[in-house]
């Protein structure tokens, strides 16, 4: 059993990897990459050579190419101590044409070209772009840069190696002086004043300041040692990981009294436990300097409403429960009184839901719910009313009720014609006994298989329902990412969906095997 499940999990992960590869081919190779500039105002503002370098830097941001500008190279050399402060400005100055370079600059440009060409980059030198009167155009300054197209294997490998991030004390570059690196374990979290018992692990040199801590938010115990990195967003939610986009709280800020490491006390929404390292942030901002004692200044703010996934999940899970509570008994009753009144009404309802486009009946429910029952038809995060959940839940539940009714009725009727039912009837059992003790237990087995899937897919949200009722859920994340060409999010969301599907199928198989003794995963039985 364990071996079989392990095999299934490995297979599932492999197919998820294949999904990622396929999607990378789709989005990076097939889609026209110039589309990313369609709604970009910076692109239309820049011109001449600056537009060329801007294009390349955006391509790098979206993951198409590796791009290094000569000026970045010089900055890096200076940081490594290979360039002193005097020669640096001279070396960084690219002449309008190669002949007009200073001796030092042309030496460094030669080194730059050689180094990067050896790594497979193409080095381009753009000469100064002049107007007809000889003046250099806006953004027309000469520049040198190196570009390398990222190959598919390279992209896939780096995606998966970056996916799991284990925080360590070498996260902050070794050249940066941040005092003694290390992890400290404390029983009294300094954030609570140092008196309250609350164990925590605090790191220096790590990405997160708090690696383990307790607080008053569910599930009370949090860790930052291992973080999941599904793909960084570029346009949808800049610089934020897909997983965080889905799970971060939304709405208005929730203020509480926060005492900062410097002793400054203020009403703030900052959650200091989530502080991450932001290099040099303390020195450049007076606001940070007044509050923090180190560069761990990047905090997540506490907001009052649920996350995208939270809303989707609450709506999805309640509607799923409703669907099972209503759909199964109605399906059984339809089979029990086959061709009766309930069966006819139920069949009509099933036909209606299957045949009619979902959009049509969701709008119908919305119109009826809004005008007849006077329910709110639009979602408003800040109103705090629970009534706004009713219509989205009902709209999601009604089709799944129809679906469950259909299958439950089908399975019940299939079982009703089998030999053991005739035998039970000839043995003198009452119809109710036959239904509850024999048919029901056999007919429900195939239904059980779908339970994990319906729970897990509740997390991904429903595209149309959420859009119609303007629910701030996770359902539109993929369409939004596609419309904004946010490749990182597309890959991340697709991988997330794929993993959910794979997991729910495996869980469904385990569940069905534990319910039905006839099904076993050991190959001996076959």
């Amino acid at each position: 059993m364990a071996k079989y499940i392990l095999q299934r999990i490995i297979k599932g992960i492999l197919s998820a990897v294949c999904v990622v590869i396929l999607i990378m081919i789709l989005v990076y190779s097939l889609m026209n990459r110039e589309n990313i500039f369609a709604g970009d105002s910076n692109y239309t503002k820049t011109q001449s050579n600056a537009r060329v370098t801007y294009e390349q830097s955006r391509y790098e941001a979206f993951g198409y190419v590796d791009y290094v500008n000569y000026s970045e190279y010089i900055v890096q050399l200076a940081q490594n101590g290979e360039l002193d402060e005097e020669t640096r400005p001279v070396a960084a100055l690219v002449g309008p044409t190669p002949e007009k370079d200073s001796e030092i600059a042309s030496e460094y440009i030669r080194r730059f070209t050689e180094e990067y060409e050896a790594e497979g980059y193409t080095v381009t030198r753009l000469e100064a772009d002049r107007k007809s009167n000889g003046q250099v155009k806006d953004g027309g300054q000469a520049t040198v840069f190196a570009v390398r197209e990222r190959s598919l294997p390279d992209r896939v490998i780096s995606y998966f190696t970056r996916m799991f991030f284990i925080d360590n004390i070498h996260y902050v570059p070794e050249s940066t002086d941040i005092g003694e690196r290390g992890l400290t374990f404390t029983l009294h979290d300094p954030l609570y004043g140092g008196d309250k018992f609350s164990p925590a692990i605090i790191g220096n040199g790590t990405k997160h300041k708090y690696l383990l801590y307790f607080d008053n938010k569910f599930p009370w115990f949090h860790q930052n040692l291992l973080t999941l990195n599904l793909g960084e967003s570029y346009t949808v939610n800049r610089g934020v990981d897909v997983f965080e986009t889905m799970t971060a709280s939304q709405g208005t800020y929730v203020l509480s009294t926060v005492s900062y490491p410097t002793g400054h006390v203020e009403e703030s929404a900052d959650d200091l436990h989530t502080a991450t390292y932001a290099e040099g942030s303390l020195a450049v901002s007076e606001m940070y300097a007044a509050r923090f004692t180190d560069d761990y200044t990047n905090t997540i703010t506490v907001k009052g409403s649920m996350s995208k996934m939270g809303y989707s999940f609450v709506i999805g899970i309640i509607s799923t429960i409703m669907a099972y509570i209503l759909g199964l008994p109605i399906g059984i009753a339809m089979a029990r009184f086959k061709n009766g009144f309930l069966d006819k009404i139920g069949t009509m309802y099933i036909i209606f839901i299957i045949a009619v486009p979902s959009l049509a009946y969701i709008f119908l429910f919305k119109a009826i719910g809004g005008s007849v029952f006077k329910l709110p038809t639009l979602f408003d995060m800040d109103s705090g009313s629970r009534l706004m959940f009713v219509l989205p839940i009902v709209s999601l539940a009604l089709p799944s009720i129809a679906n469950l009714m259909k299958w439950m009725r089908r399975y019940m009727i299939d079982q009703m014609n089998s030999e053991y039912v005739k035998f039970a009837r000839s043995g003198g059992l009452s119809e109710t006994e036959i239904f509850t003790k024999h048919i029901w237990r056999n007919a429900v087995i195939p239904i059980v298989h779908g339970i994990p899937a319906s729970i897990l897919t509740a997390m991904t949200g429903a595209i149309i329902t959420e859009r119609v009722y303007s629910v701030p859920g996770a359902g539109n994340l993929l369409t939004q990412a596609i419309n904004k060409y946010d490749n990182g999010v597309i890959v991340g969301v697709a991988l997330f969906y794929a993993l959910l599907t794979v997991t729910s199928i495996i869980l469904g198989d385990i569940l069905i095997a534990s319910v039905d003794p006839r099904i076993s995963f050991t190959s001996k039985g076959r």
Partner: protein, 323 residues
């Protein structure tokens, strides 16, 4: 000899037997009424009077969707320059233009008759559904049969199915509509490029169920070639399954097109989905509701009628109902 006997004995002709030549071919003939499968299907189908009504309604709707736009030469921008023609209620439109069937649903955002727009859209949507269903069903059934029969193909195809089934359909469609322009044929291509896979999987499962039944085993023992088993033993068994599947597939393409159009990934032609998408704002504007509910009602009627006819035809094509 017969005449002589009759004279000499005086018996009636029925009591006189005569020797008949033995014939092998004659003895093989079965003296039962001829059974024609499709005749029986339609006999069972038309036995239910509701089916006749619903089928003629379906034929009428389809014929109307093709003939009406062709006759009226619908031009959405004909009244564009008439400022009084926009967003009219049916009453106002008839008053403004005089009575004509095309104004019974009022007029839309550019003064176009909603009724004409709806039927023009219906023609596009129905064409899309029929073309996609035809392509997907042919490929899906053929490949599904091979998939179900061959264990080697099954191993490969299961993996392909697990992987491609996990790629979000919206992504494939949006990538394709970005590669090509979002026209009708791009939509057909996008819906068929992976759409056959789920049909093939369904058929594969059905083939697996009946492949190893006793009668097929017997056939194989007698040396029937696999192709013949597939065509003569299994395909007839699957007819009702295939018809039932077609009944769910046809309306599903129309629904899916509506869904795609609503999330902004539809085609450029003004199909029913695009009409609904374009009129979404009109739904909440008093007096404009018909622009939205018109296409919604027509798309619902078409899909329901298609589904019901298909399901009942599927029931009728099950030989067990031919008694």
């Amino acid at each position: 000899m017969y005449e002589e006997l009759k004279k000499s004995t005086g018996l009636k002709s029925e009591e006189l037997f005569s020797q008949v030549e033995h014939s092998d071919t004659e003895s093989e003939k079965i003296a039962a009424p001829r059974y024609s499968y499709w005749k029986s299907v339609f006999r069972v189908f038309f036995r239910n009077k509701v089916n006749i009504v619903i089928l003629s309604f379906l034929l009428f709707v389809i014929a109307f969707a093709y003939i009406y736009p062709a006759v009226t030469h619908y031009d959405p921008y004909a009244n564009l320059l008439d400022p009084d023609a926009k967003h009219l209620s049916p009453g106002d439109a008839i008053e403004h233009f005089g009575f004509s069937i095309k104004w019974i649903l009022g007029s839309g955002a550019s003064g176009e008759p909603t009724f004409d727009a709806v039927w023009n859209g219906a023609q596009i949507s129905i064409s899309l559904a029929f073309i996609c269903a035809a392509i997907n069903m042919v490929i899906g059934v053929l490949l599904g049969a091979v998939w179900g029969f061959s264990k080697k193909v099954d191993m490969v195809m299961m993996e392909v199915y697990n992987i491609i089934g996990n790629v979000p359909m919206i992504l494939i469609i949006s990538v394709l509509s970005m590669l090509f322009s979002p026209t009708f044929w791009t939509m057909v291509f996008a819906l068929t490029i992976v759409g056959w896979l789920s049909i093939a999987y369904f058929i594969r499962t059905q083939v697996l169920i009946i492949r190893d039944r006793e009668y097929n085993l017997a056939s194989r023992c007698l040396g029937t070639p696999t192709i013949k088993i597939a065509l003569k033993n299994i395909l007839p068994f699957m007819t009702s399954v295939i018809v039932t599947l077609l009944a769910t597939e046809l309306p599903s393409y129309i629904s899916y097109e509506v869904f795609l159009a609503y999330i902004g990934m539809g085609m450029s032609e003004m199909s029913l989905g695009r009409l609904i998408y374009a009129a979404e704002a009109a739904m909440v504007t008093p007096g404009w509701e018909l622009e939205f509910w018109g296409p919604v009602a027509v798309v619902s009627i078409i899909t329901i009628v298609l589904y019901v006819v298909g399901q009942n035809l599927g029931d009728a094509s099950d030989p067990r109902t031919h008694m």
